[in-house]
């Protein structure tokens, strides 16, 4: 892939050939890294460097419409000096201006331009795909040599292109996949953690690297990594995990241990909503349990506050020995707190008309999550636990 892209760009610069290509791969598969790498290699070749390869870099997230994108291209191509102090006119003028500029060149004389479109899929949503059409059109006609490279993670990108845009695209797609297996993954892990040779404190680097070597052979560490690998092959998540672990390193604790990694892994995989549940009061937990029971009884149908309150009342009357019988407004308040934490979500926007008690709601927690959270909840009254565990709520 690297050689393919390099070859492609080299031809653009050296022969003045116009091209277009798409680099497609899931997030974190190194699309941008690949491109940057190729560009770096390219710049090291004399022949290419002298040809002054300009590359406007556009990101679909920044250039949200063609107008902005055009301005950005103009800026990056340093054409404003031609425009001078002229106030940049309308979009139409702008487009005409840029097209004129690009039309002026020809294959042999003008220096090639490399357009990089990051988040290519977002450019597709621009009106009429004007920008893409024009870029591809230039790349298909004898004008300034242009290479258009799009980076995207969408596999179905070609279906998004309009038919005439698609026809102008050269259908050169470079797929990047995280196709490595677990052994390679471990290698990457080692490489990432190892200190480079230039590290000033050599003895420490030696020690550290040895430690990393040991870690990579450690069963516990391998388990952690295996787990992560099973979840995602994205290297960024590996970086994230290592970052968490390495930040535990201090002067007194100079070397990374397996425990650190396990801790980091635990942090990484912890459930955000369940974490929130840990911080709730007993009353709020009770309400959530009531909702859970409602969900089980009515099979996921939405509920409202009144139903939850009734359920809660039943529990208080029958079973609760340790629970204080709260008044309705207090329960309401607790309920609204849950609403704010987005543990429950209203089905529709609350309107001024509808009474809040009867607003239809939905629980955003799975029953498993609730049970897990209850297990670790500190000082949970046993009757509440029992109530939660019992499948028949009224008993």
């Amino acid at each position: 892939q690297h050689s393919h892209l390099l070859e492609l760009l080299k031809r653009t610069t050296v022969h003045g050939e116009s091209n277009s290509a798409l680099i497609i791969g899931p997030r974190g598969s190194g699309k941008t890294t690949l491109l940057n790498h190729v560009l770096k290699d390219l710049r090291e070749m004399n022949q290419v460097r002298e040809n002054l390869l300009e590359n406007p870099f556009l990101s679909g997230l920044l250039q949200t419409n063609d107008k902005v994108a055009l301005k950005e291209i103009t800026r990056q191509l340093q054409l404003e000096n031609v425009v001078g102090d002229k106030v940049f006119g309308s979009f139409a003028e702008n487009l005409a201006f840029l097209l004129e500029a690009l039309r002026r060149g020809n294959r042999t004389s003008s220096c090639p331009i490399l357009f990089v479109l990051d988040e290519f899929d977002l450019f597709v949503h621009h009106k009429n795909q004007t920008l893409l059409y024009n870029l591809f059109d230039i790349s298909q006609s004898a004008q300034t040599p242009v290479t258009v490279i799009g980076l995207t993670c969408r596999q179905d990108i070609l279906e998004l292109l309009e038919k005439r845009v698609k026809s102008r695209f050269s259908h050169r797609q470079i797929y990047l996949m995280n196709s490595f297996d677990f052994k390679q993954y471990i290698k990457i892990f080692k490489k990432q953690l190892s200190l480079p040779a230039e590290f000033p404190d050599e003895s420490f680097a030696q020690k550290w690297n040895n430690n990393v070597q040991h870690l990579s052979e450690d069963k516990a560490v391998q388990d952690v990594l295996q787990n992560l690998f099973h979840h995602t092959k994205d290297l960024r998540s590996l970086h994230f995990l290592l970052m968490l672990a390495v930040s535990a390193v201090t002067v007194h604790h100079p070397l990374l241990t397996a425990a650190d990694l396990q801790e980091a892994s635990r942090q990484r995989s912890s459930d955000s909503k369940a974490n929130i549940v840990h911080g709730l009061s007993v009353l709020e937990i009770c309400l959530i349990i009531a909702m859970k029971h409602l969900n089980e009884v009515y099979d996921g149908e939405p509920f409202n506050f009144q139903m939850v309150y009734n359920e809660f009342q039943k529990f208080i009357q029958r079973k609760a020995h340790s629970m204080y019988n709260f008044e309705k407004p207090v329960v309401m308040k607790a309920f609204e707190h849950l609403l704010q934490l987005e543990l429950v979500q209203p089905l529709e926007r609350p309107s001024a008309r509808a009474q809040r008690e009867f607003l239809l709601l939905r629980l955003l927690l799975d029953s498993r999550q609730i049970m897990d959270a209850l297990q670790v909840y500190p000082n949970c009254p046993t009757d509440v636990k029992q109530w939660a565990a019992s499948s028949l709520s009224w008993l």
Binding site: S18, N178, H231
Partner: protein, 856 residues
């Protein structure tokens, strides 16, 4: 100009009919009265006068000389004219035949036969002046009345420029003289109409005018009198200045004594802006000494090293400074031969002083003021010097310079009272302009640029016209070295083949259509449809190219060619702007452009050329009211439009589908559809492109064309595959040495282009992602609906994990997996704020997923 046009005018004959033709029931008149209602001005135009005629471009009316006026039987007023042709009307590619810079005020004696010389009298706007000049002469500098004065030097017959024949020259002159005599009968509402002709005449003898390289010119000139207005406020003074300077600027190489002067009508109707009385005469008594001057104008590349001829600048005011500089440069060129200048220099200075003082005797009140100033102007020698160097360097520089002075002079007038500018030190290296401050604005910032491009108007180049350019590459592009590279170059879509194979029939049809319309001089529409990559645009362009060639060879009437592309417009209404810009070079807003175009196409225009308009990607010009399309297709139906439209779009039934009835009916029934290429045609295209290059196996080409033809018939795709195949081949060659592209390479390229990415993507996904997909399948099977919430899938997922003996993931992790798959568009997911209730759908068939997962 615009407002004048818009105001209503009434036309009536002047005088009695001169003669009348019974048979034709026409009666001829010697003049016409034009009464403008808004300004209550009445102007009389007589035979032989020069007039402006309404053209298609409101800002650029045609120039013509009135030859005949008559009224036909139907009471229509007609005029027969001799056309003059502006620079703008001459095709771009012919302009370079001129080999010199043309100012906006210059027109050409039109000898093209094709134009209708019989026009409706109502199209005449007003009278103007057209002055004949000899080829080598500089344009007189006239700051006032710029719009109304033109100069003619050469004639244009559609092919080449010729110097005016002596016959026409004298005729034109005659007409001018006559004009000068005519007392203007306008009821002077605006005094500006009053002529204050400065009578001067030059007797120019062109010794060898035909030789452009060494034109030795001796021109006698005489100033006799300059009538200038007596109302001697600044204005009139300026006017006088101008009048004096004009002759000098005209390369009058000799200033003669007044005794020999002959009246020459100076082409400026002096617009005394405020003064209403203009009978004062400021007799010009230029320096009596006759200076015989031989002028060797080195037009082409005289050596940059020029002996300085110091000269006097006796400009009495800043206004003159410019004109003077140019005049000086020419006047003093003879002294290039002379080695010693200093004396003459002084001489000149004195003379200059004399001239100025004499010249301004009449406006005596001014002269004391002026004289000291004129002394000071000696300091301006240097500036003039520099200008001279420039002029000697390149004739064109003068011209461009004089262009700039045109635009400047008016401005200069305003800083009349400024002290003469400090001249900058003279630079010998004449390439580098260190122009004095006074000419700071001169369009010549970078000399090299202006030499090539004359500003079409006298105004300095605005940034609007700035032509952006991609920087040149330092190294030349490498030429293809091997057979494969050569092949790849030829296979690039941009490579223009000599002929378009397999589209001969369509080509012929379109060609015939346009040709017939061109010959008839009528308008029409043609709708061309076809899927992308079937050569619609290429064919149409080829047709246009052939037609243009034919037009050049005089087989067809000339035509204008305009192309717009719906995709390259930001808004359908921008189409108007682009068309107008192509046709006339104006830049206006969309609504205004629409109005102008409608007017242009609906009114009969003299010497209107047929316009061929290509509308690419027509469907993008669709608007809710469809007024753009309506207008586009309405114009050709107008009687006088002479507009041929070739509309290109992808869908065959576009007129029926999206157009309203009235638009579709205007589009007419001339349709053509480009069928997708068959594999044989594709094969032919490739082989025609590869003619002479042995890079492909026969079978390989056939495979590609069959594959593409089966899919889409898109020639672009076909070429791309071939190109990719050569790359693969080249890569493979590094190991072994297959010299041509074989089947294997082509197959690889095709696989690369057409392979579905999904299966591959799923196989490379992580374990949990695959489990998640399995869970989705399980949920779909359970529910029987191809849609599920994450909560439901999560339960399946956990169950599956348990089966596999894996640690079950938390909800957050599952959500992360889900969004990752969603980003790849393996799944279609809802906005993620619904969390567990987010609905998920597969973006590919269940079978595909199963197939991909089973392989493991």
């Amino acid at each position: 100009m615009n407002t004048r046009q818009q105001s209503k005018r009434t036309y009536s004959w002047y005088g009695k009919p001169l003669s009348s033709d019974r048979k034709l029931r026409t009666s001829q008149y010697k003049g016409i009265l034009i009464t403008s209602e808004s300004t209550k001005t009445e102007t009389c135009i007589q035979l032989g006068d020069f007039v402006l005629v309404e053209g298609m471009n409101a800002d650029q009316p045609y120039v013509a000389q009135l030859m005949d006026l008559y009224e036909d039987g139907a009471q229509h007023k007609h005029a027969v004219v001799q056309w003059f042709c502006r620079l703008e009307e001459i095709p771009q590619n012919k302009r370079k035949l001129l080999k010199r810079e043309i100012s906006a005020q210059e027109v050409f004696f039109d000898q093209i036969l094709g134009y209708d010389t019989d026009i409706a009298a109502e199209t005449i706007i007003k009278s103007i002046m057209v002055l004949p000049l000899h080829l080598g002469e500089e344009l007189p500098i006239i700051t006032l009345n710029k719009e109304q004065t033109f100069y003619v030097k050469q004639s244009w017959d559609g092919k080449c420029f010729k110097a005016l024949s002596p016959d026409t020259f004298s005729k034109l002159k005659e007409a001018n003289k006559k004009r000068g005599v005519i007392t203007n009968s306008s009821k002077a509402f605006i005094p500006s109409d009053i002529l204050t002709p400065v009578k001067k005449e030059t007797e120019s003898v062109l010794r060898s005018a035909t030789k452009p390289k060494n034109v030795d010119m001796e021109i006698e000139s005489k100033h006799s009198a300059s009538k200038s207005s007596l109302a001697k406020e600044r204005h009139s003074q300026r006017v006088a200045n101008n009048d004096i300077k004009t002759p000098t600027a005209r390369k009058k190489l000799e200033l003669n004594s007044p005794g020999r002067s002959k009246g020459r009508l100076l082409g400026c109707e002096v617009l005394g802006l405020l003064d209403d009385d203009c009978d004062a005469i400021a007799p010009l008594v230029p320096s009596a000494t006759k200076r015989k001057v031989k002028f060797t104008s080195d037009i082409l590349g005289s050596p940059p090293k020029i002996p300085h001829s110091n000269d006097k600048s006796k400009s009495t005011s800043e206004t003159a400074e410019h004109h003077l500089r140019f005049s000086d440069t020419i006047r003093l060129t003879p002294y290039t031969k002379v080695k010693d200048f200093s004396e003459k220099d002084k001489n000149l200075c004195e003379k200059g002083d004399i001239l100025s003082s004499v010249g301004y005797q009449e406006p005596s009140s001014q002269s004391p003021v002026l004289t000291p100033r004129s002394r000071r102007t000696c300091a301006q020698k240097t500036s003039a010097l520099i200008a001279e160097q420039i002029s000697m360097l390149d004739q064109e520089d003068i011209l461009s310079g004089s262009d700039s002075s045109y635009s400047l002079s008016s401005e200069e007038e305003e800083d009349d009272d400024e002290v003469p500018r400090t001249p900058e030190k003279k630079t010998k290296s004449s390439r580098i302009f260190s122009t004095p401050k006074s000419s700071r604005k001169s369009a010549v910032h970078t000399p090299a640029k202006t030499l090539k491009k004359t500003p079409s108007q006298g105004t300095p180049r605005t940034p609007r016209n700035a032509t952006p350019e991609i920087p040149r590459r330092i190294q030349a592009a490498q030429e293809p070295a091997s057979v494969l590279e050569e092949a790849r170059l030829r296979l690039h879509v941009s490579a223009i083949p000599e002929s378009l194979p397999c589209r001969e029939e369509e080509f012929q049809d379109i060609y015939n259509f346009v040709e017939s319309k061109l010959i008839d001089g009528t308008g029409g529409c043609m709708y061309i449809s076809g899927v992308p990559g079937t050569g619609k645009t290429a064919t149409v362009h080829e047709v246009i190219r052939c037609l243009q060639q034919a037009a050049e060879n005089d087989e067809l009437p000339p035509f204008q060619f305009v192309e717009i592309n719906g995709m390259k417009l930001t808004d359908p209404h921008q189409a108007y702007v682009q068309i107008l810009e192509f046709l006339t070079g104006q830049k206006v807003t969309a609504t205004h452009a629409a109005v102008l175009l409608a007017k242009l196409f609906s009114t009969p225009g003299p010497k209107r050329k047929t316009t061929v308009l290509i509308v690419d990607e027509l469907d993008l010009l669709w608007t809710r009211k469809q007024n753009v399309m309506y207008n586009l297709f309405d114009w050709p139906t107008q009687k006088h439009s002479k507009l041929i439209i070739l509309a290109i779009a992808n869908t065959m039934d576009l007129p029926e589908r999206i157009m309203m009835n009235r638009v579709a009916s205007r589009l007419g029934l001339t349709r053509m559809s480009f069928q997708p290429y068959t594999y044989k045609q594709l094969q032919q295209i490739i082989s025609s492109r590869l003619k002479g290059v042995k890079a492909f196996e026969e079978d390989a080409v056939q495979l590609v064309s069959r594959k593409v033809a089966a899919l889409s018939g898109d020639a672009r795709r076909c070429l791309d595959i071939c190109r990719r195949a050569t790359e693969i081949c080249e890569l493979a060659r590094q190991k072994r040495t297959p010299e041509i592209v074989r089947m294997a390479h082509v197959t690889e390229a095709i696989d690369e282009m057409f392979s579905s990415p999904y299966v591959n993507a799923i196989r490379n996904a992580s374990l949990h992602e695959q489990i998640f997909l399995k869970a989705i399948l399980a949920e779909f099977r359970r529910a029987g609906v191809e849609e599920a919430t994450v909560q439901q899938i999560y339960q399946h997922h956990v169950a599956l994990c348990r089966m596999e003996g894996l640690q079950s993931p938390t909800v957050s992790e599952v959500m992360a997996i889900c969004s990752r798959l969603g980003a790849c568009r393996l799944l279609l997911v809802e906005a993620s704020n619904k969390y567990l209730h987010m609905r998920v759908r597969l973006n590919l068939g269940q079978d595909d997923v199963m197939y991909a997962l089973r392989e493991e």
